[in-house]
Symmetry: C2
Subunit: 133 residues, 2 copies
């Protein structure tokens, strides 16, 4: 099955619609992964979490993340994966929060408080496509 590196523009297009991604971070006890739903706004990935949950506390400890989005069909052996890397910041501006709260992708599925909005301005964006897609 052929594999191809994607350009950063191709990567940006693939994740532009938002959806579900996975945040990897380094905790004191090693790597952690958390699935989140996210939106992309003007080249910035935004997601929401709980400030006092594992993800929120982990980001406070070390704000560097790798953020992965993929669409991989195991049966057909094809798909793509995009990874954005960089350092997150909390979104703290009230107007900005109010605007982001209207984005459907940022309404969390799961019950419980998700009071921390986080922004990733990626420093690196890379991806691969496998098989015919």
């Amino acid at each position: 099955v052929p594999i191809r590196e994607l350009t950063s523009i191709e990567c940006a297009n693939l994740i532009a619609t938002g959806g579900v991604g996975r945040v990897a971070l380094c905790s004191h006890d090693g790597p952690r992964i958390y699935p989140v739903n996210f939106a992309v706004l003007e080249g910035v990935i935004v997601f929401r979490t709980s400030a006092d949950g594992g993800l929120g506390l982990g980001l406070r400890n070390d704000p560097r993340i790798a953020f992965e989005v993929d669409q991989l069909e195991y049966q057909r052996q094809r798909g793509w994966s995009v990874v954005a890397e960089g350092t997150v910041e909390p979104v703290e501006d009230r107007d900005e929060i109010a605007g982001l709260n209207l984005r459907s992708h940022l309404i969390p599925w799961a019950e419980g408080s998700r009071n921390l909005l986080v922004r990733l301005t990626w420093q690196q964006l890379s991806g691969r496509r496998v098989g015919d897609w």
Copy 2:
């Protein structure tokens, strides 16, 4: 949408069939994520990679990983996610490698050498289910 913690037995059942997962590790430059296909054999996650690629070199540097598998339907706001955590080891026994090479899940999709077989005996297995699934 309701969210429920899964028991470790439920988690083990969800990932038992193998498929596609994501390996998170901590590199010198922060967290990294790599998608891989994997199999589960007697409670152990096995995957294959290239010894001199980013994942292989990263594991040599720090063999602790978080391994995530999920099935998340964005449109329906439902799904599940399972994370296994622990320290990986290379599979080096020739007979064991020969046996693993016959497992279809461990035949890599993508072209290129994948000469490193890796075993994760998880120390922790946790997961969540969101929505009606």
